[in-house]
């Protein structure tokens, strides 16, 4: 029989652990590591991944700093995906795509700023010296 306080303490500790672990799933290299060591083939591990889906609920999701992990978690529910992760080329591809996606908004912002600069340069062709100061 565990007293209420001890149970709470253990539960809090477990919360921290699971918070860390679920976010580690955002790292494709870590996924490759897990796959190559056969963890993704073990039934208890697969059940654990399904249990971790509770992090999708808003009251838990607000603690996640790396939300990419939720997408990875969803994909990990599929056996096909788990099988593919053994392949290092596959996880490298995922890594590349993930980083490109990560840069998407930055690129978009840069493009918008460039477009803005060009527009202003068109409006003020007589004052080229001011054109450079608009870029932040």
């Amino acid at each position: 029989i565990i007293s209420g306080a001890i149970y709470q303490e253990q539960a809090r500790h477990r919360f921290q652990l699971e918070l860390e672990f679920v976010q580690c799933l955002a790292n494709p290299n870590y996924l490759n590591f897990l796959a190559q060591r056969g963890y993704l083939r073990e039934k208890p591990f697969v059940n654990y991944l399904k249990y971790l889906l509770y992090w999708k609920e808003p009251e838990y999701a607000k603690f996640l700093k790396y939300p990419h992990c939720l997408h990875m978690l969803e994909l990990l529910q599929y056996e096909h995906f788990r099988k593919e992760l053994v392949n290092a080329q596959c996880t490298k591809f995922i890594d590349e795509q993930q980083i490109l996606h990560w840069q998407h908004y930055s690129r978009k912002r840069t493009r918008l700023q460039q477009a803005l600069v060009e527009q202003q340069q068109q409006h003020q062709p007589q004052a080229p010296s001011h054109g450079n100061t608009t870029s932040k």
Binding site: C24, A26, P44, N47, E79, N87, Q89, W102, S106
Partner: protein, 271 residues
């Protein structure tokens, strides 16, 4: 001789009647038969009267016989006419009632149609109302204050977790996921030595040997801590994950098919 013919004809008809005793002879038939008899008898009488002018009656009393038969037939005929009239009245009543029945039938069918239509409309309305309630419940469940959303958005953006830093170039170690350095510095990393081969090309011994990562004093990164004073706990679970959890497994192969088409060496046929 003629009398014998007449009585013979009557006997035949009566026999015919007994043969058809099961089916009642229609009144029309009876009337026509009676008329035939009267016709025959009256013709005979007239012939006899015509003959009696020139010659004597072959059989005395035959004329009275014929007369009696004639009167009898006439009486029969009158009775039959009366019956016919009554039957006609009854028939008319029957027809009126039939019309009435038809009208009632069509009324009932009309009501039936309307009832069916009303039932259909009500069923649709109830179904749509239920759907609406379902969506209302769903929306209510998922409602989050905008302030909280903005706070969260700020948190994940400011740390460059979902949007790359503007000055990022290839070679920058920052990533949209926890790097192995960060992973090892948390509770998980300190609990057990999970990597023996090294992840991302780093061996665990390197960092330690270089003195850059003292185990105990590593700082905790923000992604590893949560404000647990809010009292949130993970959902309860049995300690044994070896047991099959309730619910179905998502073995939907089709969804994930598209992902692996670009990885060249992976085999496309499943085991």
């Amino acid at each position: 001789m003629l009398m014998r013919f007449i009585s013979h004809a009557c006997a035949l008809r009566k026999r015919g009647q007994t043969v058809m005793a099961a089916a009642e002879k229609p009144t029309k038939g009876k009337l026509l038969a009676a008329l035939d008899d009267i016709e025959v008898l009256s013709r005979e009488l007239i012939e006899m009267l015509a003959l009696s002018r020139t010659q004597k009656l072959p059989q005395p009393g035959e004329d009275t016989e014929i007369l009696e038969l004639l009167v009898q037939r006439d009486k029969e005929f009158q009775e039959l006419m009366q019956t016919a009239v009554e039957q006609g009245k009854v028939h008319q009543e029957m027809q009126a009632l039939e019309k009435e029945v038809e009208k009632r039938d069509s009324d009932i069918q009309q009501l039936q149609k309307q009832l069916k239509e009303a039932e259909h409309i009500l069923a649709t309305a109830v179904y749509q109302a239920k759907e609406k309630l379902k969506y209302i419940e769903k929306a209510r469940k998922g409602s989050i204050s905008s302030e909280e959303l903005i706070k969260y958005a700020h948190r994940i953006s400011a740390s460059n977790a979902v949007c790359a830093p503007l000055n990022w170039v290839p070679g920058d170690p920052r990533r949209p996921y926890p790097t192995d350095l960060e992973m090892r510095s948390g509770i998980l990393g300190n609990m057990s030595n999970m990597s023996t081969n090294g992840v991302n090309g780093h061996l665990p011994g390197d960092a330690l040997a270089a003195g850059r990562l003292p185990d105990i004093l590593t700082p905790q990164y923000p992604w590893q801590s949560a404000d647990v004073s809010m009292g949130i706990l993970p959902p309860h679970h049995g300690s044994d994950f070896g047991l099959e959890p309730p619910g179905h497994n998502k073995e939907n192969e089709d969804d994930v098919e598209a992902m692996s088409t670009d990885s060249s060496s992976s085999s496309s046929d499943s085991d």
